[in-house]
C-alpha cells in the first residue's frame, strides 16, 4: 500500500490546497458565488467524505455529487424484475454484494433470499459462470450491473459461455454508460455545474475522448481523476485552472493508469456483446437516451430478459419515485442532500427512500455516514 500512501500525504495536500485557494480567489469564488464541480462517480463521493476533502478545500469550491453509483441509480422496476427471476425455482440468481440491499417496490434481493429464493453473492461474473458449470440442472442468472468498469467482465463471461455452449447461464443486463447521463445533466436548463471530475476507472476502459463533447459542445472543463485524496485535490486544481484561464478541455490527471484511448481488448469485447438500448431508466433521473446496454441478438441465448420474458423484453415498466424524494435535484446540484425534506427522516441508510441513500457510495448515504449532516457544526 506504499503506492497508495504516497497519494495520501497531508503535507503534499496542504500545498495543493493552498494552490486551490489561490486560484479560487483569482476566480472570485466565495460561499455565495461558489464554483460547482461535479464528481460523477460514487467512488469519488465516498473518498471526498472519507478524507473530509469537502471541509478542507477553499470555501468557494463546492462539490456536487453526481449520478455515478450504479447501485443507486438502478430503477425499482428492475429490482422487482430481479426478484421475479430469482423466485423461479430453477434459478440460482447471482449478484454483487451491494446490490442485495437495493429496495424494489416490495422487497430487496436480501429479503427475497430470506423468503427462500436461491440468491448468491459473487465477486465476478466468472464466479457465476463457474456455478453454472457445476449446476447443469439449474439456471444460473448473473445480475449484470455497473458502468464501463464492470461491463467488460460481463461481456467476457458471455463470450466464454458461448464458447463452451453453456445453456444454463444468462445475464440480466443492467449495464449503463457514463457519458450519456452527463449529457442529460448538461441539457438540463437548471444545471449549475462549472466543471467535472471524471471517474478514472471508467476511462481506464473507454479512454478520455468519450468526454470530448463536454469541453467542445458545452464549454465545460473535465479532468479524469484517480481515487486517492491527492488525485482528487489535484483534479480540483486542474478544473479551477481551466476556468481561470478560460479553457475547456478534457485533461487526464490519472495518466499513471488511464491510457488516452482506453483498453482495446475491453472495448472490442463490449462492442461484440452489447448494443445500445434506445433509452434506459435511471432512478432519480428518469429515462435517458442511449444510456443503457443490452445483449446483442447473436448472444440472445445468454440474455435473461429474452430467456425469462422480463424487463424491456416484456415492455418498459416504470415505477414512480417515492413521494417527496429529491434525488434528482441533489444530482443536478440544485440542492444539498441535507436540504431534502426526507433526509434523515423518511430516508436513512436503514430505510432508504431515494436512490442516493441506497448504496454507501450514494451522496446522501456518504453525507449521513461520514457526518456531513451531523458534524459540520463541530468540525475540528
Amino acid at each position: 500500500m506504499k503506492y497508495a500512501s504516497e497519494f495520501r500525504d497531508p503535507k503534499a495536500a496542504r500545498a495543493v490546497l493552498a494552490r486551490i485557494a489561490t486560484v479560487a480567489d483569482q476566480i472570485g469564488a466565495t460561499r455565495e458565488k461558489p464554483v460547482h464541480i461535479m464528481e460523477i462517480c460514487g467512488g469519488h463521493t465516498h473518498a471526498i467524505f472519507r478524507y473530509g476533502l469537502d471541509k478542507l478545500v477553499h470555501e468557494g469550491v463546492e462539490f456536487i455529487h453526481g449520478p455515478g453509483c450504479p447501485v443507486c441509480v438502478l430503477p425499482m422496476a428492475r429490482v422487482d424484475e430481479c426478484v421475479e427471476i430469482a423466485k423461479r425455482p430453477e434459478v440460482i440468481f447471482t449478484t454483487f454484494g451491494d446490490a442485495m440491499r437495493v429496495p424494489g417496490t416490495k422487497k430487496s434481493l436480501m429479503q427475497a433470499k430470506a423468503d427462500g429464493a436461491d440468491i448468491r453473492m459473487v465477486y465476478s461474473p466468472l464466479d457465476a459462470l463457474e456455478l453454472a458449470r457445476r449446476n447443469p440442472g439449474r439456471e444460473v442468472v448473473f445480475f449484470g450491473l455497473g458502468f464501463e468498469t464492470t461491463t467488460p467482465s460481463t461481456a467476457l463471461a458471455i463470450q466464454q459461455a458461448a464458447c463452451e455452449s453453456l445453456s444454463n447461464f444468462s445475464v440480466f443486463c443492467n449495464h449503463i454508460t457514463v457519458p450519456e447521463p452527463i449529457k442529460a445533466l448538461l441539457d438540463d436548463p437548471h444545471m449549475v455545474l462549472d466543471g467535472f471530475i471524471g471517474p478514472g476507472h471508467v476511462s481506464m476502459v473507454i479512454g478520455i475522448h468519450p468526454y470530448d463533447f463536454i469541453a467542445q459542445d458545452y464549454g465545460k472543463p473535465i479532468v479524469v481523476a484517480g481515487f486517492e485524496p491527492l488525485d482528487l485535490l489535484q483534479s480540483v486544481l486542474m478544473v479551477l485552472e481551466q476556468i481561470r484561464d478560460g479553457r475547456a478541455e478534457v485533461e487526464n490527471q490519472y495518466s499513471r493508469v488511464v491510457p488516452e484511448h482506453g483498453n482495446p481488448v475491453s472495448i472490442t469485447a463490449m462492442a461484440d456483446v452489447y448494443e445500445k438500448r434506445p433509452s434506459f431508466e435511471w432512478r432519480g433521473l428518469g429515462e435517458i437516451d442511449a444510456s443503457g446496454l443490452r445483449i446483442r441478438a447473436a448472444y440472445a441465448a445468454y440474455d435473461a430478459e429474452e430467456k425469462f420474458g422480463v424487463g424491456y423484453a416484456a415492455g418498459p415498466r416504470h415505477v414512480p419515485e417515492p413521494e417527496g424524494c429529491a434525488c434528482g435535484q441533489v444530482m443536478t446540484g440544485r440542492i444539498k442532500p441535507t436540504a431534502c425534506p426526507q433526509f434523515g427522516k423518511g430516508c436513512t441508510p436503514e430505510m432508504p427512500l431515494g436512490a442516493l441513500m441506497v448504496s454507501s457510495e450514494g451522496a446522501c448515504a456518504a453525507y449521513w455516514q461520514y457526518g456531513g449532516a451531523r458534524a459540520t457544526e463541530a468540525a475540528e
Binding site: F49, R50, G52, P70, F96, D98, Q369, G371
Partner: protein
C-alpha cells in the same frame, strides 16, 4: 483428553440422524467425542460446582452465553471450537470476571464428519486449558441435512468478579486513553479469504485467542481501568460506538495510530470494505485513566496476546455519545455504527 488406547465403539465416519436419536449411537458419540475430552471426566448433564472464589465476600457471579456459527468451520488461525471457547471466555474477561466454567451445546448437521468433530473438540480442550476454564456440561443434537451448516456451538460461561472490581462503559471519563491489544480486522479478513469466493490469496490468520490473562495483567498494572470491550462482530467501530453511547462521552481515535496489516488494508481497498468494521476474535479495547496508560500499555505488550498493543485515541467531552476519527489526511469524520452487514461493492 480422549484416550486413544481405548477400543472405539464409534465406527462411523459421518454423523447420521441416529447419532441424535437418544439411543446407543448417541451415547457412543457423546462418550467418545465430548465427555472423554472435556473436564472433569465423567461429566454429567448438571454440573455441581463448588469453588471458594464464589464464597469470597463481595464477589459477584458473571454469566454469559453466545452461539457460534462460522463458514468455513476450520480457517487459518482457528476453528469453530476455538472460537466458541475464546468468544465466551473473552465476554467474561472484558466484564472483569475470572472465567471458570463453560457449557457447550452442539447442533450437528447430519453428514458432518466425525473426524472434524474430533478436531473441533480437541481444539476446544486446548483452548479451555490455556484459559484455565473447565467445560463442565453440554448438550448434543443432530438435525437433518440442510437444517444447519455443519456444526453450531453454543457456549455459556460462568466466572467470578473479584470484590471491588467494577468495569463498565459508564465509568469512562473524558481524558481516558483507549488502548487496543493488537492488529485489527484479521479475523474478518481471514474468513472472507477462507470462503474461497475471492480470487485473493493471503497469509492472514484469524486473531482468535483468549483474553482472560491479558485482562488480568491490565487490571493489575492499571487498577483504575474503567472499561473494556471485546471488539468482535461489527469490529472496533461498533465496540467504540457502544461504549460512547453507554457512557455519554465522545471518543476520538487517530487513523494513523490504528494497527492494521497492509494485507488487510489492501483487501479492504479492493473490496470497498472498512477495516474498522471487520470482525476480530481476540481483540480487546480498554479505557484507562491517562496516568495509568503507560503501565497498562507496558503490561499488555509484555504478554503474547498484547504484543502489538497501542493507544489509539481517547475519551473527550465534546460531541457526546459519538465516535470521531482524525483521518491520516488531516480531516475529521464520524465513525458510525454499521448499517446491516458490510457488502463488497461492485467497482
Amino acid at each position: 483428553m480422549n484416550d486413544m488406547s481405548k477400543p472405539t465403539r464409534l465406527r462411523d465416519t459421518r454423523v447420521t440422524l441416529s447419532h441424535g436419536g437418544g439411543g446407543r449411537a448417541m451415547r457412543d458419540l457423546i462418550d467418545e467425542i465430548f465427555t472423554a475430552a472435556f473436564h472433569p471426566p465423567g461429566m454429567e448433564d448438571q454440573a455441581r460446582l463448588s469453588d471458594a472464589a464464589l464464597a469470597a465476600p463481595g464477589a459477584r457471579l458473571a454469566m454469559t452465553t453466545d452461539s457460534f456459527v462460522v463458514t468455513p468451520l476450520e480457517f487459518p488461525g482457528g476453528d469453530i471450537g476455538k472460537l466458541a471457547v475464546c468468544g465466551t471466555v473473552n465476554d467474561l474477561a472484558v466484564g472483569g470476571a475470572k472465567p471458570l466454567w463453560l457449557s457447550a451445546a452442539f447442533i450437528i448437521e447430519e453428514g458432518c464428519e466425525i473426524a472434524l468433530l474430533r478436531r473441533v473438540v480437541a481444539s476446544m480442550v486446548a483452548e479451555a486449558e490455556k484459559a484455565g476454564v473447565s467445560i463442565v456440561t453440554g448438550d448434543t443434537k443432530v438435525v437433518g441435512r440442510g437444517a444447519a451448516d455443519g456444526v453450531f456451538i453454543t457456549t455459556t460461561g460462568v466466572g467470578v468478579i473479584p470484590p471491588g472490581r467494577n468495569l463498565e462503559a459508564g465509568m469512562i471519563r473524558p481524558g481516558d486513553v483507549a488502548i487496543v491489544n493488537g492488529v485489527l480486522g484479521d479475523h474478518g479478513a481471514t474468513i472472507l479469504a477462507a470462503r474461497g469466493d475471492l480470487a485473493l490469496s493471503t497469509d492472514i490468520q484469524s486473531d482468535c485467542q483468549g483474553l482472560g490473562h491479558l485482562m488480568e495483567a491490565v487490571i493489575a498494572a492499571a487498577p483504575d481501568t474503567r472499561a473494556a470491550r471485546d471488539a468482535t462482530r461489527g469490529g472496533l467501530a461498533s465496540a467504540l460506538n457502544e461504549m460512547a453511547e453507554a457512557t455519554g462521552v465522545g471518543i476520538v481515535i487517530d487513523e494513523d495510530a490504528l494497527p492494521l496489516r497492509d494485507e488487510v488494508k489492501g483487501m479492504c481497498e479492493i473490496l470497498g470494505l472498512d477495516p474498522l468494521y471487520l470482525a476480530n476474535e481476540g481483540t480487546l479495547v480498554v479505557f484507562v485513566p491517562e496516568a495509568q496508560a503507560p503501565q497498562a500499555l507496558a503490561a499488555m505488550q509484555a504478554r503474547p496476546e498484547g504484543r502489538g498493543a497501542v493507544a489509539i485515541g481517547r475519551a473527550v467531552e465534546a460531541h457526546e455519545g459519538q465516535v470521531r476519527m482524525r483521518t491520516a489526511f488531516g480531516g475529521t469524520r464520524i465513525v458510525d455504527m454499521l448499517v446491516g452487514e458490510q457488502l463488497p461493492r461492485i467497482c
